[in-house]
Every structure is written in C-alpha cells, then in structure tokens.
Symmetry: C2
Subunit: 349 residues, 2 copies
C-alpha cells in the first residue's frame, strides 16, 4: 500500500482537530489542550505557536469530545410550561445571562402545563447530558425527581417556594392574599378571581387559595361563581369575566392570574358598560409591558423575573461547581398600585 501524505487521503473540508494543531505547532495534543484551556506551565514560545496554529487552522474544539472527557457538558437545561409566556421568557433570559457569564449554554424546552410532557422534555435534556436543570413550580411527575437524582445533577425550582426542594421564587399564596387584603382595605366585599388553568399548576392554585384564605380571615368567602378558571390570554379573560357575570351578583373587584387575563376582563367589563375602577376594580399578575398603558393603568403584582432568573442561575452554577448553596431563595413579589383599583362605589373613604 502506498503511504501517501495524510492530507490527500482526507476530504479537504474535514474540520481541523487538536492533532492538526499540534502537528502544525510542533507539539503534542496534550500541550495544545493545555494552551487552549489556559492551564499554566507551558513555555511562552510553545504557547504562541499553538495559538497561532489554532488561529490559522480556524480550530474549534469538538464539544462532544470535550464533554466526554471532562464529564462536564457545560450546558444547563430548563423546562418551562410555556415558552411564549412573557413571565417565563423574562426569567429564562436573565437565567441565560448568568449561565453565559459562567460559560454555560442554556437549553430550554416547553412542557405546556402537562406533567407527562414535562417529564418527557426533562428526560430529553437529561439524555443530552445537561449539568443542571431548572424547572417551574413544585408539582411534577412522580418519576421526574428519581431521574434527575440518577443523573446526579443539581436541580432548582422557580416561581414558587417548596418545602423540600431547592427553589427560587415567592409565596404565591401570600402575594395574592396581599392583593386581596388591599382590595378589602379599600372596602370591597365581593371579590372574584379569574385564573389560568390550575391543574398541575401550583402557582395558580396557591394564588386562589391565598385569596380565599385572606377573605376567610375577614369573614368573607370566595363565592364559587366568582372563582373562574379559564385558558390563558386576552380571550380567556373576556370569557372568564363573562362567565362570572352570568353566575350571579357581579363582584366589585377581581384578581386575575395574568395581566393578559386582566386586560381581557377589562375589555369585557367595558363592553358591558361597567366603568373601571368605578364599578369594578381589577388587579393583574406579572406587570407586563403594557400594564401601565392600559386605560386605566393596571394595578398588578409584579414578579421580579430578572432576579429570579439570576438567582436560579447562580444557584445552579454554584452547585455544579460544588459550592454550597442555600436551599431556598425568596424573591418577593410586589403589589404595584395603579388606577385600575379604587374603593367600591358608595364606600366610605
């Protein structure tokens, strides 16, 4: 067999590997690796030679080989219920910020408010070898935690607090209760709730529970006809408020699961000739971009998405790197008062 030079046998487009850089720089692959990973103990001239060779060849290290060798994938997964939801996107965005700073990549997936789907997506990420995982909420498929444990990677939950598991979030029940108390302080007695789907959604559920408890603490109750569950979105809000009115005496105030729902409810209320806040006070959730610009500007519970994302990122990075980390980080939500809330008609100041 002829012993032709290797270059001729290889397709010309084959991308360069460490071996090529080493050959060109006249060193071993070990040295190439040392230089490219910034580890100390390489003489300046060799270092330069390697750098130049890598540059000339346009060398890009093969991530899979590196991951296999280091047993670090340098990627973190996140599974959120809905990647099109503003609140989740904002958290993902700040989460990614932190990951990038630490050199990690974010791999995000959609679970669509379904536990089975969440399990499937998370498993998919686990198979990919992510070094950490972010989830939303405290309700998951029974098998999920076992799989994460078997993968041996850290996990952090967001958006709600958890009794047992690592988490970064806020007390959904307490913040919703705060909104209810504010309304009651204004003099409201008939308060309604329009939330998104609560099945397998601890945030939505907790909010309603918190409101009901706050009402109960003042001797009021959340009438079942004032407790509406609809699909997310502006259309959902309209439908929800329509349902609520069909159910009996109208509430004087409502608390909505998102600002979109609140927007929809406001539109429906307006269409019915109700004035806001004169006939109906409205509170949303999330403080979306448009909330201050609605007519009237929407009172809402602001979730500090950026802080949650950053804290979740810091949390995972720390644990991945073996540093100690507090289990629970609370980032309280905040009630932002605007003009969509006022005392009910005829109430004493």
């Amino acid at each position: 067999m002829l012993d032709l030079p290797e270059e001729i046998l290889e397709p010309p487009t084959r991308s360069p590997v460490a071996r090529d850089v080493a050959r060109r720089a006249g060193v071993s692959t070990a040295t190439v690796s040392r230089v490219l990973n910034g580890s100390a103990g390489v003489r300046a001239d060799k270092r330069e030679a390697v750098m130049r060779a890598a540059q000339d060849l346009g060398f890009v290290a093969n991530g899979a080989a590196r991951a296999l060798s280091t047993r670090r994938f340098m990627a973190v997964g996140a599974v959120v219920p809905n990647i099109e939801n503003e609140a989740f996107v904002r958290v993902l965005s700040s989460f990614q910020d932190r990951l990038r700073q630490a050199g990690y990549t974010l791999v995000a997936a959609n679970a669509g408010y379904d536990l089975e789907d969440e399990l499937r997506e998370a498993t998919f990420l686990l198979e990919r070898g992510v070094d950490g995982l972010m989830l939303v909420g405290d309700i998951h498929h029974p098998d999920l935690h076992a799989r994460i444990a078997r993968a041996g990677i850290p996990m952090v939950q967001t958006f709600s607090l958890s009794r047992e598991r690592p988490c970064v979030g806020f007390d959904n029940a307490a913040s919703a209760a705060r909104a209810a108390n504010y309304l009651m302080d204004l003099g409201h007695r008939r308060i309604g709730v329009i939330s998104g789907l609560r099945k397998d959604n601890d945030r939505g559920g907790a909010r309603v529970t918190g409101i009901a408890a706050a009402l109960a603490a003042r001797g009021l109750r959340l009438a079942s006809e004032h407790d509406i569950e609809i699909s997310y979105g502006i259309g959902g809000g309209r439908d929800g408020f329509r349902q609520m009115l069909a159910g009996g005496p109208p509430p004087t105030a409502i608390i909505c699961g998102t600002d979109q729902i609140a927007f929809g409810a406001m539109i429906e209320a307006r269409a019915r000739g109700l004035s806001i806040p004169g006939d109906l006070s409205v509170i949303g959730h999330n403080d979306s971009d448009f909330a201050p610009f609605l007519d009237p500007p929407l009172t809402t519970i602001r979730i500090h998405s950026a802080e949650i994302g950053h804290a979740a990122g810091d949390h995972l990075i720390a644990r991945i790197q073996g540093r100690p980390m507090v289990r629970l980080t609370e980032i309280d939500a905040e009630l932002i008062l605007r003009a969509s809330t006022a005392p009910p008609r005829g109430a004493a100041a």
Copy 2:
C-alpha cells in the same frame, strides 16, 4: 491485590453505562447499542433482556459519547436578536416543534441587535457542535459565514429574503409597501414611519425603504421629520410619535415597526387629543395578541411566525439529513385590516 467484586469498588451513585446494561443482560455493549438504537438483527430474547436491564438500571445513554461516536450532536442552534420579542419567540417555538419531531434539540441564544454579539453567540453554539444553525435576517458579521462553513453545517436565515443564502421569510419592503399603498388608496398623502433601530437590521431598513419607494411611485415622499427611528417598545412608540409631531405638520397616517410601537403612538396621539382613525390612521407589524383588542383595534401586518418556524425547521432537518432543499422559501406577510385605519378627514370616499 484482592479481587473484590466491581460493585463494591464503585461509588454507588455512579450512573449506569452501557457496559453495566450489557453485563446485566449477559450480552456485549455492541448488542446493547443495537437494541437501544432500534437497529434490526437482534434476536428477540436478547432484545428483551437488554430492554429489561436498561429499564432496571435506569440507563440513560451518555449524549456526549454518542455525539462523539456518531458525529451527530442532534441539536440545532438559533441566534435571534431578542429572545423577549414576541415575533421571535413565536418562530422559535414552532421551529422547536419541528426539531423535536425529528429528535433534535433547540439551543437558542440572544444577540441583542449587535453583530459582534451575534458572532460571539453563534461561535459559542458552533463550538458546542450544533448540527445546524438558524439566524435572523441577512446582515451578519463578515466572519460569521466563514465560521459556519468551516464547521460544515447547514444554516438558514429567517424573517427576510436573501439573494444568496438559504432563507425562509418574506419581502419586508414589499409588505410594508402594501401597507403604504393601502393608506394612499384611502387618500392619505402625509404618511409617517416609526421604526425600531435599523442599524444592522435589514428588516427594519427594508420596511422603511419599501414605504419610501411606494410613496415615490405615487409622487409623494417620506419627509425626514416623518421618518423616526426609536428603541422598541411601547415607550419608544410614544416618544417616536412625540418626536414626529415636534417636527412639523402632523402626518395623517403612520406605519409602525411593531404593534407595541403602534400602541405607544396611539397612546401619545390620544393624549394629544387626536382621534384614531379620525385624525390619525395607525398600522402596526406582527399582529400581536393584543392588537385586535386595542381601542380601536389595530390594523397590522401579520407575520406568519408559525409557518416560518416550521419551514425553517424542515429546511435545516432536510439538509442535515442530506436531502435536497430549495434555497428560498417565501412566506408572505398579510395586511390585517381593522379599525385603526380610515380615510383622512375630508377625503372623498
């Protein structure tokens, strides 16, 4: 040296590898691989044994090893200007749908309307070993295409059409021109534009160019004081319209780069006592969720995000799998007529 059973020497938490499954099932790792990858030619009893062993052990194949071995990472990258922008998120979401169906993972990154950042993020994904890459628009860092070429992976651009490169999108100039023509047909003569930042943004630029050309075709021109460039968002829209009014005689109609900008402009117009569409017609871009619910409902250019995402996904998957694929897919945008546009005051019907 004692020859203790291997299990005792290993830390109990070590996650199982193919070797473990093989041992438990009494076969070789080759057979394990064959079974788990569904390739034919394994006798039923062995297949069952392997399946069971894998199940019992909770075996999850190491993605890095698999990627290294197959030279397929089973992941696709996407770099978008702003991951918090509704239009991009919708495209990413449908893009991901398709990728998932084909067994691929989406890895998305943010470039923030900056070419250097885009290059950095794309390089980061390339290093990770993605099998394909989605970009937005036709303007990129001069080095980017060389790097993609060196990585030897397919790339597809979205949101605009390209003369040279693979793309899925629409003709931004033509669709904006359509909006301008519609306004001129209604009788408008003084038409303004409020767009987001146009630097390194071919979509924004093309839209303004298209509008100016449409005006010119009818003997009108886009006055410089009616050509406003601001940052995205509702606040930007308010500022933009304020600037436009400060510049001289007000336009009777405006075309905005996004529905958020249009919303902001409408708020500012209303605050100035202008009625819409009586004094001012407004057209947005994207057909956001809230567009039909504004007061009045917003006429807007709908971008078929889901179709773009799906087509881009199909495009990349096909090329990754070596199937032929058309270079250019046009998915036309559509002008959705609502109540925010009308003939200017005093115009003949």
